[in-house]
Amino acid sequence: MKKAIALFTLTAAIASGSHAGAVTLTIACGAVGQELELCKAGAARWAAKTGNEVKVFESPNLTNDRLALYQQQLAAKSSDIDVYQLDVVWPGLLAQHFIDLKGKVPAAEVNTHFKGIIDANTVDGKLVAMPWFTDAGLLYYRTDLLKKYGYAAAPKTWAELATMAKKIQDGEQKANKTFAGFVWQGKNYEGLTCDAMEWLVSFGGGTIVDSTGKITINNPNAAKALDTAASWVKTISPAGVTTYGEEEARGIFQSGNAAFMRNWPYAWSLGQSADSKVKGKIGVAPLPSGGARNAATLGGWQLGVSSYSKNQAAAIELVRYLAGPAEQKIRAIEGSYNPTITTLYKDADVLKANPFFGSLFSVFTSAVARPSGPTKSKYNQVSQAFSSAVSDVLSGKSKGQAAVAQLATNLARIKGAGW
């Protein structure tokens, strides 16, 4: 019986493979951390299984750069790339260029993913892309250093974090003068918007623009959140933190030169790799609270099929495979990319590789979305205005109160007649 089933699946696989005809697809993957290797490996597995060929197009590290490249490709209706890796804030922006996966991917398969992420990928009833991995901001810390300086647990509030980071930094700098207390993403780009959203929400300062499209940024809690972050620069964070993206921060933390780091889950498995100086010394906790709550910004990437693809059927199959449970499990174990399929959070192998997935499950499910929904195609401008305002506060050019007031005016200008 088993043999028969195996034989049947094999013939079915061969039949479906030959049915589609051997085609060559191109997928655009990111290259942050291990993204590229895992993408190549996953694509190769599908290719071997189906007899098709998959080329991997390497896109830029910074998400802003990636979007710019995609927009040019898509505006030109180029068929060069069949499958695009999309940021969670892009579906509203790019929906028109992607085929509707609703109906093409069985509903039962779609429903295995987090509902919130499926909603984020649905624009006017159209399923723009399939979730591939989700992301939420996390606080990484050095367990050995916390112990050394007499701390039992990760900080619960930003104030606590500042105190601990200062003490550890002062102590460590005696031997290592480049040691930093806390590193994060302070460069003026989308990553800063993510970090600063976490400060805002944790202080009860709202989400820049609320779900109805009203500009809510001009409030005292938001101002306080930004001033608090500015107080870290040059005290517990290096002056250059305002030039760091994800990889710069990880580089410093992973080489043993920082006590705390804010980053995405992908940094976990790299930090535990053989060449990491902090292997076995990393702890992961929810980001501290500013008084209102603990907050993590929702990130994550999806896979969409371009409307201009010449091999849409095969491309959909590739997306289904990559976003499917088997592939998400491999990626979770090898690269600590958070699955979007709920059941994988109870998988023993996944939890063994990423112990924090289980304990921080609520962080991933309650992550705060950036206002890309209400601001629609103007989201990018909103995000830039926001990150620029934050950047001014961080560099000491303005104070929180003045910055949020000015930002509200700028946002009104961007909103114009409406979002």
Partner: protein, 310 residues
């Protein structure tokens, strides 16, 4: 000449025929080039000007709508200015680009002149030096900008950590402009030196021998002979470098990232508007403005200094 005078009428007719034929032939020979220019330069320029008065989105350019000069200047009923000329960030970009151009071109000219005068002399290893000085110019700007960004890094950079002890030069855009100027000067001085060297080589050496005989000091020779004779070559070099500096993009983009580059260079602002924000209309308007600014500066240059390009 005079002997030909009587037969002139008949000859003129004949020459006109030949000239006309030659002109026709030249036109045919030039035609492919003219078509190529129209396609690769004329059409994009026309499209940019066309889109500058349209409200259009990059992701769906076919849905453009005519709005006149609203992309440049428009105040909504609520008193909100949405034209790019009403955006302080644009003016900051203009200011920074002008500062960048004036300072970097000035420094490149001075240093380029010094280097050119040195390598113009006869000494051992001159050929090697002339080649070596072109190395910074030969490295692609994107590569050298990234290289300098690493050197400026405050935690592991040669300059940021080594020389300045952990200062982050690029963190504050107001200070970063000076760090960017340094990169441009490092990179382009050698090109300037090469242009000036070419000018120096065309100066007759016997003139200097005569000056030496007359007892003119090297200093006087430089100010009274070299500099005035070098003027045409120097001005052409200045125009080229100024235009280059006005449309600088890669240094800012690589070293500061897309958002901060937009308040540091005009082209960075254009890219952010057009690409990142997908505002095809406003972005084109910005591009047209940059085109006009550069054109005005060229006209001023050429008329004020009476530059001759031939």
């Amino acid at each position: 000449m005079t002997t030909q005078a009587p037969t002139e009428p008949r000859k003129v007719v004949k020459t006109r025929g030949i000239e006309a034929a030659r002109a026709r032939q030249a036109l045919w020979l030039l035609l492919p080039t003219l078509i190529a220019i129209a396609l690769v330069a004329g059409y994009p320029l026309w499209r940019t000007i066309f889109f500058s008065v349209q409200e259009a989105n990059l992701t769906s350019p076919e849905q453009a709508r005519y709005v006149g000069f609203q992309n440049f200047w428009f105040t909504t009923e609520d008193g909100v200015g949405i034209g790019f000329l009403q955006d302080p960030k644009w003016w900051q970009a203009v200011k920074n680009t002008m500062l960048f151009t004036v300072v970097s071109v000035f420094l490149e000219t001075v240093f380029g002149m010094i280097i050119a005068l040195v390598v113009n002399g006869t000494f051992k290893g001159r050929a090697f030096l002339r080649t070596a000085m072109l190395v910074p110019w030969a490295i692609p700007t994107v590569v050298s900008a990234q290289m300098w960004a690493y050197m400026y890094n405050d935690s592991f950079g040669l300059i940021g950590q080594g020389l300045l002890g952990g200062q982050a030069l690029l963190a504050d855009p107001d200070k970063a402009i000076w760090a960017l100027i340094a990169v441009d000067v490092w990179k382009t001085t050698s090109f300037m030196a090469l242009l000036i060297l070419a000018g120096l080589q065309s100066l007759p050496s016997d003139m200097y021998e005569a000056a030496d005989m007359d007892g003119a000091s090297k200093w006087t020779q430089f100010w009274r002979m070299t500099l005035p004779l070098l003027r045409p070559a120097l001005l052409v070099a200045l125009v080229f470098r100024s235009l280059d500096a006005l449309r600088v993009f890669d240094i800012m983009y690589v070293m500061l990232g897309p958002v901060n580059a937009a308040s540091t260079s005009m082209t960075g602002y254009a890219r952010l508007t057009l690409i990142d924000n997908s505002l095809l209309g406003v972005g084109s308007a910005v591009a047209v403005a940059i085109f006009l600014i550069i054109m005005v500066i060229v006209v001023i240059y050429v008329t004020a200094f009476r530059v001759k390009f031939d």
